[in-house]
Assembly symmetry: C2
Homo-oligomer: 186 residues x 2
DNA sequence: AACTTCATGTAACGAGTTACATGATTAT
DNA sequence: ATAATCATGTAACTCGTTACATGAAGTT
């Protein structure tokens, strides 16, 4: 899904500025399953406006750039509606954590523990953010998406905690990283 | 994580050709949490060999290009070991499915059902592939990664099935997509 | 004093995907 | 017959990120 469609979706929840849309991807509803940076949002908003999918109202402010609040036009709303009927791309889950875990037998137990604890902490913080999630209420389906995220996150935490000792037991005996298996053999 | 590191990891599980590495990302151990295409794997392998991290042995075959089997050099193994000690990037979960679900109230119930059923089918097939997963056994930690994937996938399926009626109830009354909310008002 | 928040925008750069080029063999 | 599998490789292209430019107000 392109940034343009993501922006259209953000604005379908209510008028907003580029800065506010960014926050939606950083801390808001969308933060757990999508992302977008200023470098992609601002040009997208400009293009969308040029194409007649958005209108823009500039609110002048003192000491900072005008706040440009964007709204969907009829065409913009229709275009987004149509996007909702397009085939949905399969989800993508990219995890350097799991990738590393495949090589647990090449790591000292201490490193595995470290990775595991970091991950667990990351997951717990994400869970907090999901449950706090204030911006979610804008859409009636927000609660559901929130619950889904919480459910999955909890299930990851549970698995990792239940299998902690098993995971740590995979580590090799190597005490420092300078002593690689190859060197140990040679 | 760059393709180069991913390739190094793939080869840490055993010597392989570019074609075989691709399969690892398509159906093998890595398929559920990472991906890479030929267009990135082949150049990466060439570069890695130029840099002395890999050696390459060409096996000539009839009627097809030489099969080039790559192996990690000492330097390659060491470099990968070091990568395992680098800070791990947070996981990224991109879901057009959840994004769409936020706008369930702008879809007719039939479309929601369709999306939900597709997703459920996708998840069930993924679960099958995870449980089948033959290539996983190469690493001792393969089972664990496999179980993690299965656990999370099952938890997603459960949530979606338990909440099916609740999700479908979010839909709007609009029967066809040509009758958008805006048009209904006007 | 230093950092965070608010606020927009651009340009260079990076990294990977898609599509193309080539072609025999095997399974349906 | 038709499609899939095996097998490598390149070039154009897409898309987005990172970093920079600018700067005031409020917070620690």
């Amino acid at each position: 899904m392109h940034v343009r469609t993501l922006c259209l979706g953000a604005l379908a929840l209510g008028d907003a500025s580029g800065y506010e849309i960014k926050k939606l991807f950083e801390e808001g509803v969308f933060s757990h399953f999508s992302e977008a940076s200023f470098g992609s949002i601002y040009p997208a908003l400009t293009k969308l406006t040029d194409d007649g999918l958005l209108t823009c109202q500039a609110h002048s402010q003192e000491g900072r750039p005008d706040k440009k609040v964007y709204s969907l036009t009829e065409l913009g709303r229709k275009t987004f509606q149509e996007a909702l009927f397009q085939p949905i791309q399969p989800d993508k889950y990219r995890s350097d954590f799991l990738f590393s875990l495949v090589f647990a037998n090449q790591m000292p137990a201490a490193r595995i523990s470290e990775i595991l604890n970091n991950k667990l902490e990351e997951l717990k913080e994400e869970l907090k953010r999901i449950e706090a999630g204030g911006g979610v209420s804008k859409a009636p389906s927000g609660d559901l998406v929130k619950e889904f995220g919480a459910h999955v996150t909890v299930s990851m935490i549970e698995f990792l905690e239940k299998n902690r000792s098993r995971i740590e037991a995979l580590g090799c005996e190597t005490e420092t990283r300078s002593r690689t298996p190859c060197e140990a053999i040679g």
